[in-house]
Symmetry: C2
Subunit: 232 residues, 2 copies
Amino acid sequence: MNIPEQYSDTISRSELFADIPPDMLADILDRGRRQHIKAGEILFHEGDHADRCYLVLKGRLKLSKLHGQGKEAIIHYVEAGAVIAAVAVFKGKRFPVTARAMGAAEAIGWDRDAIMELISEYAQFAINLLRFAIDRIEELQTRYLELAVEQVERRIARALLRIMRQSGRKTGEGIEIEFKISRQDLADYTGSTLYTVSRTLSNWGKRGWIKSGRQRIVIINPHALVSFSETD
Amino acid sequence: MNIPEQYSDTISRSELFADIPPDMLADILDRGRRQHIKAGEILFHEGDHADRCYLVLKGRLKLSKLHGQGKEAIIHYVEAGAVIAAVAVFKGKRFPVTARAMGAAEAIGWDRDAIMELISEYAQFAINLLRFAIDRIEELQTRYLELAVEQVERRIARALLRIMRQSGRKTGEGIEIEFKISRQDLADYTGSTLYTVSRTLSNWGKRGWIKSGRQRIVIINPHALVSFSETD
DNA sequence: CGACGCATTGACAGGGCTCAATTTAAGTGG
DNA sequence: CCACTTAAATTGAGCCCTGTCAATGCGTCG
């Protein structure tokens, strides 16, 4: 039996195991396969045959979709505790996105049969998976609306706030985004360009709302960003 | 017992009942509450307390999200057979979208308890719900990418093709969209404006690719639209 | 320390939104 | 069945936001 000590936190907090008796966790985890992903490496490619779905144990992954001519949209940043690629189990197709590690990361993967067995033994498992899916749908809908009706600077502000809430860490200066994120990343996340993002961050830097450097952003004044993203 | 005859088709085709023994359908349907929605009426409002989820039995619904100042984004058009508002059951929150009938429509709704009972009795039910959720996620991701990287006319072309595949009916002239859809609708669906949509459709009309009138669109040459949406 | 990748900034242009004025078509009621 | 009302669609003019291109600066890592 091997619940790796260092993940007990992620595991106990993950919605995937909500309402599942702790003594069954070991069994569930044993049926999956753990995998280490180095910084910048890819866990799976968009278009590859989808054979397993994953729980992120450590680190962060960027889920993105490509569009000819080097254009890319970042669909989601996922944290430890999240389930990804459920499509592999329930639609048996190809991965619709690419998953790339933002830093060193680890994940545990189950193939279709394992998940199906788990569901039939622990009915709650399917419900927990549904909760993840529904959360994803809601976030996508919200971001779709933003992309459809708001202009760029607002979208960037909202993106920053969303990422801050999910992956921010308090420091002396303010709240720092815990992973490396470039102007290009933010552009791909907001449906913009690295130039516009750069200009915008630069502007906010001058106003003292944020501090930013190479692949690093600290939010000094979240409130200013919130009101900027909301006021008329 | 009452499986309404006229819906047996929708029911037997709906993914919701895949792999569920037919003799259990009557039981499942009996636990829901049927509801008629007149053309243009609203089944539920964004922000209302979400108390039940629905299977669309007949007609079509438009799921949209509002954004101050009268702006609106159409998140999805759903057909008979689709499940909506699963959020009501699995997150017990508020509806994230508004559902409006595009013509006369009918739906059957189950509250949280009913769905939970059904899942515990028919484990397959949860899996089927997951499939719906995953389909939605994939479509949203794809449209998010489009909105992020493609320009308006292409998005309109793709939207038309997507709607055509889902709700098109062959006629003498070509493939007609089966429900009333205005320029404004198409604009809200593609993140554009009714003016741009009007100009674009007008242009395509002159080229003979489509024919369009008041809330009515017939696609004469789908292939032209496909290549327009794909070429360089 | 050099080189590469990321970020900044300016100049420019154009896609698409906005606003306004008509035109067309669908209902509606007498 | 026609006049009237109202909502949808069309079209033009103007301009602004933001993408594009190019040049330069800077920080980090090998």
